[in-house]
Amino acid sequence: MQHKVIDTDEVVIRFSGDSGDGMQLTGTLFADASALYGNEISTFPDYPAEIRAPQGTISGVSGFQVHIGSGEVKTPGDYCDVLVAMNPAALKANAKWAKPTATIILDTDNFDEKGLAKAGFKTDNPFTELKIDDRNLILSPITTLTKESLKDSGLDNKSIIRSKNMFVLGMCYYMFNRPMEYTEAYLKRKFKKKPQLIDANIKVLRDGANYAANIQAIPNTYKIDPAPAVPGLYRNISGNQATAWGLLAASEKSGRPLFCGSYPITPATNILEELAIHKYLGAKTLQCEDEISGICTAIGAAYAGNFAVTTTSGPGFSLKSEALGLATMTELPLVIVDVQRSGPSTGIPTKTEQTDLNQALYGRNGECPIAVIAAHSPSNCFDAAFYAGKYAMEHMMPVILLTEGFIANGTEPWKIPSMSDYPAINPPIIDKCDGPFKPFERDPETYARKWAFPGKVGLEHRVGGLEKSPNGAISNDPIVHEQMVARRAEKVKRLANYIPEQNVLGDQEGEMLIVSWGGTFGHTYTALKQLKKEGFNVGLAHFDFIFPLPKNTAEVFSKFKKIIVCELNSGQFANYLRAMHPDFKYMQYNKVQGQPFIVQDVVAAVKAAYEK
């Protein structure tokens, strides 16, 4: 077979195996090496809810998809060019993601009778059964080769078998011309205390690359030129890490120490884990006894003058509802991060969805409007968290930040900003006053009250869940209650004076406006580019600010004949827009499968709507 080097703009690789096979790490190392090489990347971990599901079964399959390119890469890609399947179950679960032209790398050592049966294959030919015989199948005895590679290493059998993921990573490095230095440096760091494992892993990695070069089975290698990036210092960042750092940044800018009260919940937990590392930046983290304590300790900390945060996912968010009312009533700054996952109830906890929007907008007793903003990509979580903090503190109110499992766990390269690029945060802190302090007196512009925390002489006052008059006394007066309800609502509404106007990508007017929000941006934006290339008259309004909506929303909508709202739920944002801007007609494209959009599906949905 003639060896070809294929020049291409982009490639999608999907690593899959048993949840103990180290596929998440393999994918991450591949992505990092590609980013370092200068490609644009986007990643998507697709892992099971069980930590160790039964070995070899479909439910135990763990996947990690990496999209690399020399142009703009905004999604982890729909279908893959290369699929790595370490066992029959991984192949069965992931074959549907392989393009018709895909190369599939298999560890044949696991494709024995037992392995095939566990994965539920009915015959001894899984390729015919899955109708993938025509793909480029690379059948390699990866386990055997790894054993051979390490037979003189002195390592025990278990450790040897565990390093087979490095063998397959080496094969991919050859196929895609990736530099190995980054991964070798990683292994040296990771196994600093076990030098034996450093040598072994590096040897397996190199042997994998050499094996790939030697066998004739690999017909093509790929060359993906570095992306023409803006000069500067870059790093890879996941959405959850960016959220944590954005919160730390808001703390630094405001001068208020960060307090995070949280309870572990997938897929939000690593925000708490990340914040817990940064105690030296003044961050205090409290792993609470439950979700309610998470938000209530945060409200207490806000009362005492900290920048208070609680992080959670859907079910935990439900538990916090009553306390959200308390934060609204006491008018204290608080950021609630909800990393959305598939629901209702426990749902599919490791899978992504945008189904908590209604809960964020409405899920409380009484008249209780709360500002809602959403992050649109892994690195954008930094800005979203920073501004959530800024608005919460400057406007003295809770702010809900919605992210999603997809962008929370996904990573992308990020041009490192300087803190001098970010605006100041000036909370309305009061230190003294003439006469008695009136806790619910408001700023005439923002409607924010003053922040007077304990320790300040002469400002002693009481707050709480009971309705109060502006001077802070409990009040059951019907008129006072109605006025206070109106003022709290007005305060949230006035945030629209401080957020940016809604922008439109692509065409600024015409036939069709795609509307999306949150973590689907990569998919709707990529769909927009394709539709534009095909000559469609289409624009994209992707909303970061949900409540209040940007002030020019109606103006943006009025410039298009048709509007299609695309979201990963049954139409929650569409219905919200119908309530807020009833003068327009909204078509919908929805998906509720616990999976991100597929760009081609979005394109098809927009085309169909276009024809209607």
């Binding site: 750092w245 630094e252 304590s293 304990p454 009481r462």
Partner: protein, 338 residues
Amino acid sequence: MKYTAQDFKSDQEVKWCPGCGDHAVLAAVQRALPEVCEALNYSRERLVFVSGIGCSSRFPYYMNTYGFHGIHGRAAALATGIKVANPTLSVWQMTGDGDSLAIGGNHFIHAIRRNIDINIILFNNRIYGLTKGQYSPTSKLGMITKTSPYGTVEHPFNPGALVLGARGTFFARGIDNDINLNKEIFVASAKHDGTSVTEMLVNCVIFNDGSHKEFSDKEVKEDRTIVLRHGEPMIFGKNRDKGLILVGRRLKVVKIGEGGITEKDILVHDAHSDDIGIHSMLVDMKYPEYPVALGVIRDVADKTYDDNVRDQVIDVTEHAMIHSMDELLKSGSTWEVK
């Protein structure tokens, strides 16, 4: 600055029912605070009163200090957040048997487990007053209430046993109308580093009148209760002639002068002992077999959550390589695009 009780009274009208035990507890707290402030060098603006929901949770409105009237059951979580956010504050949690032992039970035991430096005053009237008379987690078995018209079929909690079960470092008990003893207890609880829990046996004059009366009435109180003070013998009774001794693994009430018992045989109260054994027996004592234990039953020194947080932050900061967001952003694996 020297304070008087008057300095801690707010301008709000006190709305508890006439005859409610809460009035006396409010008075005792307001009388204790001048002494607390002097002993610990606190000024008024450093005091924060936090509560949940229930009759007793109205307390913060009646104090001329910082105050937070929270939601049902969550006072311990709010107080924890306040104390961690600013450890220089003196945080007091006012709560009831419904607030802390039913809906907020989890926060209650975890605050104690962490040994966060807050002062919890648990108003135990063995009834739900604000919702007009349903049984509570401390209502006696068989008690007839609106939701137990044929008598409860539930065993009550003993709050002290919960506190000790969570390895609490401070537990005291008082009766509402004994303002002097309560004042003494509140001062001790404020001086204690860590979570202090004081169970206040309060009378609900409307829905559970006389719930503690078999040992709290003036005529019988001295014979049916014992006031414990660290280092003093466990003697009680109108004539100071009864005491407690240990027989095997059980406490026993004895009469001094009978059966060869002298004052030297009587147990001496050691509130500072880490051993939970005798504290647990004292907490469990019920009338009529025993006198009900009042005063500071347990007051043990241990590291507080706030201390541990502070020490950790100092230690981590000393060794930190990163001192600002800009440094953090550039830390770890990065690459330069030229």
